[in-house]
């Protein structure tokens, strides 16, 4: 079974994957918004999602997780989808505040870079037609699309920033 869905918050994505597992659907592969599922026993697996430091560490990361009875189901760029057989003890990749903060910080940086790229595209989309004085409908469409994505990415960025701040407050307490 294939489902198409888009998430900007990995925690919500994990929740959704676990809901699917509860219904007897185990994620097998993720490609650009497409989630490919296999049948499984209801609640057979629990899922987690991690964000690698770099794609090059994937092999050693995978090996390490395997040794801990965690199976890497799929990888997309630096995102990895992990699962283990549900032992009802919970599945938490990051167990202390420091590593939680570091984890979300990495994702935040990625959103930040994406946002800056969006702004650069927007700038080019506005400046070029102005110089060549050829502002056409197509340019407005492009600009609207870029503005839309910029807002979406900024939203995701703010949400993760809030999460990090909450952890920092907890840490200082």
């Amino acid at each position: 079974m294939i489902k198409l869905k888009f998430f900007l918050d990995k925690d919500e994505e994990v929740k959704w994957l676990n809901d699917q597992s509860r219904k007897g659907l185990a994620l097998k592969k993720y490609i650009l918004g497409f989630y490919i599922f296999d049948k499984c026993e209801e609640d057979e697996y629990v899922y987690e999602i991690d964000f690698l430091n770099s794609v090059s560490e994937y092999a050693s990361f995978k090996e390490f997780m395997n040794e801990n009875n965690i199976h890497v189901v799929s990888r997309w760029y630096r995102w990895v989808y992990l699962r283990k057989v549900n032992d009802y003890k919970g599945f938490e990749l990051y167990s202390d505040l420091d590593s939680k903060i570091e984890h979300y910080q990495k994702i935040k940086t990625m959103f930040k870079i994406a946002f800056i790229i969006e702004l650069a595209c927007l700038f080019i989309e506005i400046i070029v037609p102005l110089i060549t004085s050829q502002m056409r409908l197509i340019n407005f469409i492009f600009i609207s699309i870029i503005v839309f994505f910029s807002i979406v990415i900024f939203g995701a960025y703010s949400k993760i920033d809030e999460k990090i701040n909450n952890y920092i407050i907890q840490k200082e307490a």
Binding site: F64, N69, L93, Y94, D98
Partner: protein
């Protein structure tokens, strides 16, 4: 002298579990046992901590066996031991000082 900051609980227990050769899963289990399930290390936390301790040369690979069947083992280095001992001195000081509070209660 550079002022050392306190070790995190995670670092403390990983170093302790690496007083003898140990692999990832072994560290998690030993720390669980030592703390009666209070500290359950997440695999992501442990992975990051082992990498950063390796970079600091506080721990090293115990055996780099080519046979892929074997799990990767780590062990504490002298530098790691020194850091651990410094932390123990700090913790003992804390415990000693805490007695002031107990005396007050008497």
């Amino acid at each position: 002298m550079i002022k050392e900051i306190a070790l995190t609980e995670t670092t403390f227990y990983i170093l302790l579990a690496l007083r003898h050769p140990n692999h990832g899963y072994g560290i998690i289990q030993e720390v669980e046992k030592l703390t009666s399930n209070r500290v359950v290390l997440g695999a992501g936390t442990l992975y990051g901590a082992l990498n950063s301790l390796m970079k600091k040369n506080w721990i090293e690979l115990y055996s780099e066996e080519i046979s892929s069947r074997k799990k990767k083992q780590y062990i504490i280095t002298d530098l790691g031991r020194q850091a651990f001992e410094r932390e123990v001195i700090r913790l003992k000081e804390l415990i000693n000082c805490s007695k002031l509070m107990e005396d007050l209660n008497d």
